[in-house]
Symmetry: C2
Subunit: 284 residues, 2 copies
Amino acid sequence: MGTSHQDTSLSSQLAVAGHVDLSTFDSRATTGFDGSKAEGKAALAGIGDELDDLQERLFANGRSGASSTRVLLVLQGMDTSGKGGIVRHVAGLADPQGLAITSFKRPTPEELEHDFLWRVEKALPGPGMIGIFDRSHYEDVLIGRVRRLVGEKEIARRYAAINDFEQAFTASGGVIVKCFLHITADDQKDRLAARLDDPTKYWKYNPADLDERQLWDDYQQAYAIAIQRCSTESAPWHVVPSGRKWYRNWAVATLLLEHLRALDLAWPDPDFDVEAEKARLATM
Amino acid sequence: MGTSHQDTSLSSQLAVAGHVDLSTFDSRATTGFDGSKAEGKAALAGIGDELDDLQERLFANGRSGASSTRVLLVLQGMDTSGKGGIVRHVAGLADPQGLAITSFKRPTPEELEHDFLWRVEKALPGPGMIGIFDRSHYEDVLIGRVRRLVGEKEIARRYAAINDFEQAFTASGGVIVKCFLHITADDQKDRLAARLDDPTKYWKYNPADLDERQLWDDYQQAYAIAIQRCSTESAPWHVVPSGRKWYRNWAVATLLLEHLRALDLAWPDPDFDVEAEKARLATM
């Protein structure tokens, strides 16, 4: 989306380049949105129709073989930052038929036998689809680094491998929208406490989340490095302030919308003779 | 859902048992709904919140390992009957994270090397998920019969195999909701003509659809037999009048809702000590 002074897109406002220090970002900012929570929720609903239309064009082009364009939304963030909420409230605006959602868990023994990108490659969206990664290949340089699951040299290799991988994806007609859902340790504390106060939310709580929370600073550090090393021109990282859920949802929906708009998708031409088909149908 | 006189559920009204003659069904009926098109659309939107809540309970139970309950919605019908529309407008009411949608196409060479249920088994929803089959194992007794892709003996074997397969699914905690989207040949003609009149719909049109249309009566016959042979107590077929799109959407959403309600799902109990976790969080 470029970063010229004329570019007022949300993407250009949230994309990061160069050195990253996450402590300087305000998790409760509402960058690019001038309005209240109620207005933010209304704006999100208002995005639905255009998103639906653009997604159908994307899907139509994929289905008709007219184009290999496909979109991948990568969601990363600490527990409670809202990856699931984005799937529900943003992806929920789209036709589920055109979505391919992958929630990456701890790698299976089979997955561990392969390079870390093996399972990711298999989950990439096909032509016309919007893929959503709830966690992603970035876990392999985040938890991989924090928990020292692999050595430093391997971690260093992975940043470059990720950049090559994403470059190949975009070069072949893929569009990648990477969102880091930024919250503070206090935001997380409030949200975990809310889960522990509400029996309808117990299922979202996992005691192991607190073990990860203890490593908060290490994770922030690992995120900063990963974002810095892998925010490229064709696949920049966006730091999305996620302390306010309504803003976070609006922002990610808007990023998706901007990238779909930029594709400038026409409806595919028919690969049959329309008049001949009309005549044939009339006789039946 | 039973068929006693007290049962006024939509499921009991649309489920069929015994001899089936599709020509006696009115595609424009609005069984179980007393209202206008605008009221039907509003009623569908009104279903959203409850469907969302029940789906989240189902998902929570699956995620927490508390239950192996899962739901499968099977959609069958002639071209233009609205299988894609159901995915968009009904499944679109739910959280996409909890949906597993499979669109069955012509079998691949690999799939053809296996029994017809092989690929279907692999696509069954896991615990907590709502699976949606856009076409299904029934194609193997529909196009299989009409196009004589296999012999009569094999077709006969398949009805029994399907009943066994569905019985095993329901016996292991699965709930299956089978919907035949019933339209007339005239309904289809109108809809195909509309696609040929609208460049934004060309991509949905395939000249091969007219080849299938020429076999309309054979397909109706094949559907009637399949529905009759495979409408069982644990997995009945519902004939959904689909000449009016708004009614069709409302009816399938209502069938799904009734089946989810019948599960009477509680939120899963925590598998951790809530107070201990609260205390631990407070110190962090």
